[in-house]
């Protein structure tokens, strides 16, 4: 199984994301923002960083990158897509996911190990987890506060599309402690904290982030 990892100008976490894909048991395929084909990948990861320098708004320019046109088309047909941090922001700007990520409520750039609770294990990226399972993975961003209107929030909650929540004090002002959401179909997932930095205990706070990358194999086997 081939999992594409997109590099935009300003992306930081593409190497770690590719390494996590490999640890999960799939083949990582490097994709470039200007690519005009998806190289036969079965799934795509939009990694973290500061694509296009976060100019205008986080993810606002990346959304119009040539490769994103293909990702949006494929996602609408059901291809699994995971956006981490800046990737989550790109998915929101692309309207593949609802809502927006805004400046952390206390204005600080946060970089710390964060406990999150898995709320849904029916998406393409979360089947390896148990509902209610608590994992510790790094959270590192300046604009991670998930915001949406009341109607959208009720929809996300009602349809079981909140996939992970922060445990304990709200780190960034996100509505309902939301750390990650999915689209209706469950193939597109956005997540603020970074599972790709927690795939082995030598370099991460845990190896519990690996579940996102093994889940995608389950999704393909089905």
């Amino acid at each position: 199984m081939r999992v594409g990892v997109i590099t935009f100008p300003g992306t930081l976490d593409d190497r770690d994301a590719a390494r996590a894909v490999t640890h999960g048991g799939a083949e990582a395929v490097a994709l470039w923002h200007a690519d005009s084909d998806l190289k036969n990948v079965d799934a795509v990861i939009l990694p973290g960083g500061f694509s296009y320098g976060d100019y205008l708004r986080c993810g606002a320019i990346s959304r119009f990158a040539p490769v994103m046109k293909l990702v949006i088309e494929a996602a609408e047909k059901g291809m699994p897509v995971l956006g981490i941090c800046n990737g989550f922001q790109v998915l929101c700007e692309s309207h593949l996911l609802p809502g927006a990520l805004t400046r952390n409520s206390d204005l600080h750039f946060l970089c710390r190990d964060q406990e999150i609770e898995i709320i849904s294990n029916t998406t393409a990226w979360t089947t390896s987890f148990n509902v209610g399972e608590k994992i510790i993975i790094p959270l590192k961003n300046g604009e991670g506060s998930f915001q949406c209107d009341d109607k959208t929030l009720a929809q996300l909650e009602g349809e079981g599309r909140v996939i992970a929540r922060y445990v304990g004090e709200n780190p960034n002002g996100s509505r309902n402690l939301i750390a990650g959401i999915s689209n209706v179909r469950g193939n597109v997932v956005g997540l603020m904290p970074h599972p790709e930095h927690a795939i082995d205990s030598l370099t991460g706070p845990s190896a519990q982030g690996l579940g996102f990358f093994t889940s995608i194999l389950n999704a393909m086997v089905k």
Binding site: L56, R57, A60, F64, C92, E93, P98, G99, A100, T102, R103, N104, S105, D106, L107, S145, Q147, C148, D149, G173
Partner: protein, 81 residues
């Protein structure tokens, strides 16, 4: 030459931590007039000659699609000569 100005502001219900930080800095400098502060963005788009209605419609479209994010922001377009 004309300048088309697009002002983009966070919607009132969206928390504006930057505006809040400015509001709390003002009284520290002795400026006590502000009840609250909201911070936004201003785009100045220079065009040749006076804008036609079609051009203004294009700018409106660009403001909706790129310059603002309708989920969290509002925009206003006006012409400055």
């Amino acid at each position: 030459m004309a300048i088309i100005v697009v002002d983009v502001m966070l919607k009132p219900e969206i928390l504006d931590p930057q505006g809040n930080a400015v509001a709390s800095a003002l009284p520290r400098l002795g400026f006590t007039f502000a009840q609250s502060v909201r911070q936004g963005k201003r785009f100045e788009i220079v065009i040749e000659g006076d804008p036609t209605p079609a051009q203004l419609a294009e700018v409106e479209k660009a403001a909706e699609v790129l310059l603002s994010n309708p989920v969290i922001e509002t925009y206003a377009v006006r012409v400055e000569s």
